[in-house]
Structures are given as C-alpha cells and as structure tokens.
C-alpha cells in the first residue's frame, strides 16, 4: 500500500465520520423536540424520582429489550455508589413492561429487565442478598397514555428501598 493510498483511504473515512456526526446531531435534536426519547428508549426525567441527590431511581428500556443503555449504566453506577455508602439499605428492583405485549410474556420480560439491573449492580459490588427482584409485567404503568412516549416511560426497572 502506498502512502498516497493510505492518505486517500483515511480521508474517505474522515469524510464518512463527518457525515455521520452531522446526521446523529440532527436526529438527536429531532427526537428531543418530539419528546425525550432516543430510538424508543425514554431519556426524559418526567417520572424519575431520586433515591438521593444525583441518584435517579429508574432505568428505561427499548421495546422488547432488556439491554442497558449507556445512560442506564450511568444511573446504576450512581445507585451502586449510593448503596455502597448506605450498606444498611436493601432494595427491590421492580421490572415493568409496556401495554403492547401479552400479559404473561410481559411478566417474564419485567423480570428479565429487573435482573439486567441487578446483574449490573452486582458487578459494582452490591451483594445479591440486598436485592429482591419483583416483576409487575404491564400491571403497573406510570403513564396511562396509549402512545410511544407513554410506553417508553413504562418500560422500566425501578429501584425501591425495601427497608
């Protein structure tokens, strides 16, 4: 490979990167205006409560997914730090699904989501003895709307103090 070829290739990559960034920024602005969602994961703070200052109590999921987003991992790291400081506190992780699924599958999905949060807390040093998982499936929505934004608020795992 000649130097000029390498230079040409990297230039191409660079241009591609620039184009992608531009797109991403545009998209983010668009979804922000539309209402606090990225992809179909809720990113707003409407329903969020705080376990302590700077420690949000919940994380959100994409439709049918239980993968933790970057923002969710950040929230859970904050929860883990808070739990390490407050070693006497035990928690319940309440897993939820939106209304657009069959009841029984959603019960399992809520359990899977709460466990995703549990696993992450455990990797940050929180003992499983302090964590109880409780799935509500689609039985306890926070938002009673029938639209994508409402559903995104309802796909969640909420960390609740157990004592």
């Amino acid at each position: 490979m000649t130097l000029s070829k390498i230079f040409k290739n990297s230039l191409l990559v660079l241009t591609a990167c620039l184009v992608l960034t531009a797109c991403a920024t545009k998209k983010e602005i668009a979804t922000d205006i539309k209402g606090s969602m990225q992809g179909d994961v809720y990113t707003g703070t409407d329903t969020v409560e705080y376990l302590a200052e700077g420690v949000p109590d919940r994380v959100f999921f994409a439709t049918n997914e239980s993968i933790l987003t970057t923002a969710s991992r950040e929230t859970l790291r904050a929860q883990a730090a808070w739990l390490r400081k407050n070693s006497g506190i035990n928690i319940v992780l309440e897993g939820h699904a939106d209304e657009r699924g069959t009841r029984e599958y959603n019960l399992a999905l809520g359990e899977r989501r709460a466990n995703a949060a549990k696993d992450y807390l455990m990797t940050y040093g929180i003992s499983s003895d302090r964590i109880t998982v409780l799935s509500y499936g689609k039985e306890r929505p926070v938002d009673s709307g029938s639209n994508p934004l409402s559903w995104s608020k309802n796909r969640r795992s909420v960390t609740v103090k157990a004592n």
Binding site: R103, A108, E111, A116, E139
Partner: protein
C-alpha cells in the same frame, strides 16, 4: 361441587327420529335457522308457588328467555318474535299446529311446560321439526327451584346438540379477572359467572393483584397468579370451599399456570435470573419437573387434549414465537413463521387447532393455526386483545380487549369478547366491571 348440588334427573329418553333440519356449524351465521321458542306453559298454582320461592312472575317465560338468548348469541339460530306466535304455549306443547308455525317461517319450534312437583321444579320441553311436522326431541328435568337458570342452559345445550350434531357450551361458566380503578393502579379480583353473564360472583376481595385464572377439567378448581405479600406465585383455589394454597415452593416468580387435561398436574413458568422456563408440578405427590431449559423466555404453556404435547411461546429465536414439544420437553419445534410476534397459544379441545394472539404492525389479532403451524386464520383485529380461551366444544373463543386511551390518558376499558371459529358472530360479554383474562369451564352437566 356443582354436580352434587344440582340433583338433575333426566326422565324421558330421546326419541327415534330422522332429522330433516340440521344446522351446519362450520358456516358461521350467514343463514341462522329461524326457530320459534314458545314460552314454557305453567299452571296457575305452580306459577304462584314459584313466584314465592324465586320471586319471578312467570318462571316458564324466564326459562324460555334463557333458551332464546343462548340460541341467538350462538349465531346459528334466529329466534322469531313471540308477537307473531299464533298458538298458545300450553296447546302448542300438546300438539303444535304446524301450518301456523310454518306461516311465520319457523323451521324449528320449542315448546314445554313447567310445574311444581313436591316443591321441585319440573320442566319438560319438546323440539319440533316444523316442515316435517315431527317431534325431534323430548326431555324432562326435575331439580331444586334455585337451579332454574341452569335448566334453561341445559335445554339450550340439548337443542344445540340435536340440531348441530355437536355438544353445546351453554351450561358453562367463565372465570375471569374483574378490574376497577385507574389504569396505573388497577384493582383486580377473581370473578366467576355463567356463560351468559348472569350469577356474577367475586371470589377475592381485591387486596392483592390476581391474574390469569384457569379452570381444571372438572371446573371445580382454579389455578391463578396472585401477588399475595408481594410474592407473585401460582395458587390453587377450590371454588366450593374457597380454600387457597400456593403451588409448590419455588425460588422465584411462578406464573402462566394451566392444568393438565387429567387435572393432576399444573404446568407453569418459573422466572429466575432473567430466564423463564416451563415446569410442571404433580398435585398429588408434589413432584416438580423442569420441562424447558433455555436462557430465553419460555411461557404460556398449554397441553394438547391427550396430554402428549405442550404448546408454548418462547423468544429463543429473538422474538416471541409459538412452539410445540412433547410433554416431557423433548422434540421442541417452532410452528409460527408468519410476520409478527405470536403468543398465548391454547390447544383446542378437539386437538386439531391452536388459538393464539398475534402482534403485527401495531395491531393485535386473535387467530388459529393447525398444530403444524399451517393454515393460519386471523379471526379478529383490534388495538389490543389477547388471551383466547376455547368453549368446551371448540367452536367459540373468548378473549379480552382493551381500548386505547385519549390524549389525556383517559378512556381505558377492558372487556370480554367472544368470536366463533368461523370469524363471525363477534360479541361483547357484559360484565358488571371491566374484565380480562377469561377462562371457559367444561360443560357442567355432562
């Protein structure tokens, strides 16, 4: 025990007869059979005594109303207006003047008589073929007066069976979840009612969330999910005694329970560590068996009527799809391959079909497919509906449907609906409160 309470005595024996009228059950309600349901006649003395006992002005009329309503809602019959009837009920029961019934275009005629025999309710009825001018069926029942609604249902079943050649589904009950309160804080209770919506009773108080009740084969026991003490577990309820017990001792949430066809086992899911697998528990020896073992969500199991197979839904392919396997968990085979997600498979009591919920492009469907996954037929489309349950003769499905809320998040309702296997005859079943998760009982009288 329902069967014990009823003390039903069949006196007359079905007749030798060569039916000319026949109702083709597979055709839907395109051409319902015109039928005249003459009020059951009653003598003055019996009328007065039943008015005292049951507080019903004319029990003969009441029972024939039940029959008429059942036949109409089946979609297979078209009960004619009583105002057009020319012949008085008591005389018609002795010997119908077939020309009169022919004149109003009735093809079949039901007549009968109610009387008080030693404080018991005695009901006799006859089914007539108007065109052939022949009696097709004659039966009589004697029972305690309180069973009058059931008598109406049993008569309906006998007529349905005589005219369609298949067992009826009228003397049955529905167990379901009664719902009240705002969508974000629903209060849910177990409730039971007759198939036609009468005799509604609440079985739990609403102190804890309850979901997905299902009858055992004799319809005396129910298995369901309860959040008692915030521990979601499968429970067993004896309807007669009200006794409730938790099923097994599992280290996580158990849910999606159903009985095996012999009633001896409960099949259900256990969710643990983000995985849901299917288990059975034998109710006699309490032996627990793990049936599926997969990191995916395996749930909503339902046995084939012979108990040899189980259908369930799993997202092991990446999305929720329907599978079948042998009841020991071997030979797992995916059967749903259409576009969309598939859930809540329920094996038909006839064994040849599986009913399901399908989600495709934001719409929910109730449908059926053959047990090899072929021949998919979608019966109804809506914003949200799921959880079909079969009538005991495998001709009708009951399910629940939820409505979309408005911009303010208001206007949510959940109601029970039924639809024929033909895709015709969709009907709402009236309930005193909102309702979901219906399960149809077996025939109570045979």
């Amino acid at each position: 025990m329902i069967k014990k309470i009823i003390t039903l005595i069949l006196i007359l024996i079905p007749i030798k007869s060569f039916a000319l009228i026949e109702v083709d059950i597979t055709r839907g309600n395109l051409d319902p059979l015109p039928i005249a349901v003459s009020p059951l006649s009653i003598d003055e003395k019996s009328k007065k005594s039943f008015k005292k006992i049951l507080n019903k002005k004319n029990i003969g009329e009441e029972i024939s109303n039940i029959v008429e309503n059942n036949l109409r809602t089946s979609g297979l019959f078209n009960p004619l207006s009583k105002e057009a009837f020319l012949q008085a009920p008591d005389i018609a029961n002795l010997k119908p003047r077939f020309e009169d019934w022919n004149l109003i275009k009735a093809q079949a005629l039901i007549t009968g008589k109610v009387s008080n025999v030693d404080q018991k309710l005695r009901v006799e009825f006859r089914l007539w073929d108007v065109l052939a001018a022949k009696e097709m069926l004659a039966l009589a029942f004697t029972t305690v007066p309180d069973n009058w609604r059931r008598v109406g249902h049993i008569i309906s079943d006998k007529i349905y069976e005589r005219l369609t050649g298949e067992k009826g589904y009228f003397d049955t009950r529905i167990i379901y979840v009664a719902e009240e309160g705002p969508k974000t804080q629903r209060i849910k209770k177990l409730a039971i009612m007759d198939q036609d919506g009468f005799n509604n009773k609440f079985l739990t108080l609403g102190n804890e969330l309850v979901l997905t009740p299902r009858f055992n084969p004799t319809s005396q026991m129910v298995t369901y999910l309860s959040y008692f003490k915030n521990l979601p577990r499968v429970y067993l309820l004896d309807i007669e005694t009200g006794t409730q017990e938790v099923v097994g001792d599992f280290p996580g949430m158990t849910f999606a329970p159903r009985f095996s066809p012999d009633g001896k086992k409960i099949i259900m899911s256990l969710a643990k560590d983000g995985k849901s697998d299917i288990y059975t528990m034998d109710l006699e020896n309490r032996i627990v068996e793990k049936i599926t073992n997969h990191p995916s969500i395996d749930t909503s199991p339902s046995y084939s009527p012979d108990g040899e197979y189980v259908t369930f839904n799993s997202d092991r392919s990446g999305y929720q799809q329907i599978y079948i396997m042998k009841s020991d968990g071997s030979d797992v085979k995916r059967i749903s391959f259409g576009n969309g997600l598939y859930g809540t498979p329920v094996w038909s009591p006839r064994g040849d079909l599986i009913a399901f919920t399908k989600l495709h492009k934001g719409k929910f469907y109730i449908g059926v497919m053959r047990t090899d996954g072929k021949g998919e037929r979608l019966l109804t489309e809506n914003y949200y509906q799921e959880a079909p349950s079969w009538s005991p003769n495998g001709r009708v499905l009951i399910f629940y449907r939820e409505t979309k809320t408005d911009d303010k998040g208001e206007g949510f309702t959940a109601k029970l609906w039924s639809i024929d296997l033909t895709g015709y005859n969709e009907r709402q079943i009236k309930t005193p409160t909102d309702a979901s998760d219906p399960s149809w009982s077996s025939l109570l009288s045979n």
